[in-house]
């Protein structure tokens, strides 16, 4: 049996007074891709922000690799090897691509010029190599997504959390990103993938949870969930949007 890299129990998160995540429980196993599916507004991003401590949860327990990290500040999770590729990419627009990638090494080294892992990231995303000196803000959406993932990979994460990496990208770029994610899975990375694009995500994932208005509505092995009516609905919804 693979051990639990991340375990979330009864997580409740609110925006101000309005609770939008109502006691969500799930886990991500080591070496697997776990997927959190849901339509727009289901509470996926809020769940992730709550477990990372970017937003203080109302209640709930979060453990990472057996360590209780409930109510830990975000920087402490980073130091435990949790890397976050946030919704909307959020690269540092005014920093060069190279400096963005270096920012991913902060938990690994105090030296700035060492850039451990840079070759590996550029091997995963060779598209970034000619852009190293450019400001990240001038990259295309697809390149920014690669950069956001690359920045997370620079920390050699034990758990990689991606929030809708397909958002706002053309189908061609989406398959490029997913090709890279498949490579990461094959390398043995532990991944928690948040998606609206249910079909693509389920092709990649081992296990999946369906989030509906702040509750886990369904869960199971990815292969079985593909046939679920709920998943079909999410898939149709995401099709209408794009």
């Amino acid at each position: 049996m693979t051990d639990s890299a991340l375990s979330v129990r009864d997580l409740r998160v609110a925006h101000g007074r309005l609770e939008v995540v109502h006691g969500v429980s799930f886990e991500a196993r080591g070496g697997q891709v776990t997927c959190l599916l849901g339509t727009n507004g289901a509470g996926k991003t809020t769940t992730i922000r709550g477990l990372l401590g970017l937003q203080t949860p109302r209640s709930g327990t979060v453990t990472v690799g057996g360590t209780d990290v409930s109510r830990h500040a975000p920087h402490r999770l980073a130091r435990l090897g949790v890397a976050h590729v946030p919704e909307g990419r959020r690269v540092f627009a005014n920093l060069s691509v190279r400096d963005n990638l270096r920012m991913g090494t902060l938990t690994r080294t105090r030296r700035w010029r060492e850039e451990p892992g840079l070759d590996h990231v550029l091997h995963t995303f060779p598209e970034l190599t000619p852009k190293l000196k450019d400001a990240a803000g001038v990259l295309s959406g697809g390149q920014q997504q690669m950069l956001a993932i690359g920045r997370a990979l620079m920390s050699r994460p034990t758990l990689l959390i991606l929030d809708e990496p397909s958002m706002g990208l053309s189908p061609k770029l989406v398959s490029r990103i997913y090709q890279a994610l498949a490579g990461l899975r094959d390398d043995g990375h532990t991944i928690l993938l948040v998606e609206q694009n249910a079909r693509l995500a389920l092709e990649l994932a081992d296990h999946a949870y369906v989030l509906e208005t702040g509750h886990i509505a369904e869960s199971g092995p990815a292969g079985e969930l593909i046939a679920s009516a709920r998943v079909q609905e999410i898939y149709l919804g995401s099709q209408e949007e794009s």
């Binding site: 975000p74 920087h75 946030p86 920093l95 270096r102 902060l106 700035w112 803000g137």
Partner: protein
Amino acid sequence: MNLLLQVVFAGLSVGAVYALVAVGFGVVANGTGAVNFAQGEYVMVGGVVAGVVHEVWHPPLPVSVLCAVAAGVVAGLVTELAVSRFSGARSAEIITIATIGLAVALKAAVLLLTDRKTYGLPHFLGERPLRVGGAVADTQTLWNLAVVFVVAVGLSLFFRRTRQGTILRAAADDPEVVTSLGVPFHSVARWVFVIAAVLGALGGAGLAPLSVMSYESGTLLGLKGFAAAMLGGLGNLYGAVIGGLVIGLVEAAVAGYGSAAYGDAVAFVILLIILFTRPTGLFSQRKVVRV
């Protein structure tokens, strides 16, 4: 005597100090989003500490200046403790308000310790003024301009080339992502407040030979530095330097050709003009449109 040159020298001397204060405002605004109302008090602390050390122990001048810098480091650390640790503040608004409280506290502490006394320093490069083109240039002008130049070049290298400088630039883009990458907010806050306070204290030491410093010198200098920062675009390093020098020059021109009584009003008129013509300019530097 050449009045124009005289005005230029006088303007650059104090303008250099406003520039240091303005750079401090920008560094803090970039790192935390806040307007640091304690910025002027750092100048006061630097000037008073250098003056006290000089008066009590008569050490060589560089020692007095170093004491001012050390006081700046302490003031910066105290600011970080006050605004980010104790109040647990995260939002720019709360930090801004916390700095108002800190400014009052710093002023009160110096008032209690010095009992309203004023302090000065001798000119760093000798008391004998330089004669240039029929005007008298204070040697302190040269020193202050040199400090601003070194600070601008040094900070720009620090921000572009070093790990810590890049972290601070990244925090100006997206502070939350910086915390997700393993750097706690208080570390960013500590760096920006220490940098800002050291700049202010250096300015205070450089100003002490030109005008005496007391517990109440900081407020006006802070407001003038803020006007300079706004003029140059808050958060823009070279803009802040230029803004400071321009305000110093205009102030000296108004005092020289008009009346000295109106000199102090210059910064406020400029500040009002910027606020009315670019009302959204206040924090517009911080939000970067993403493609």
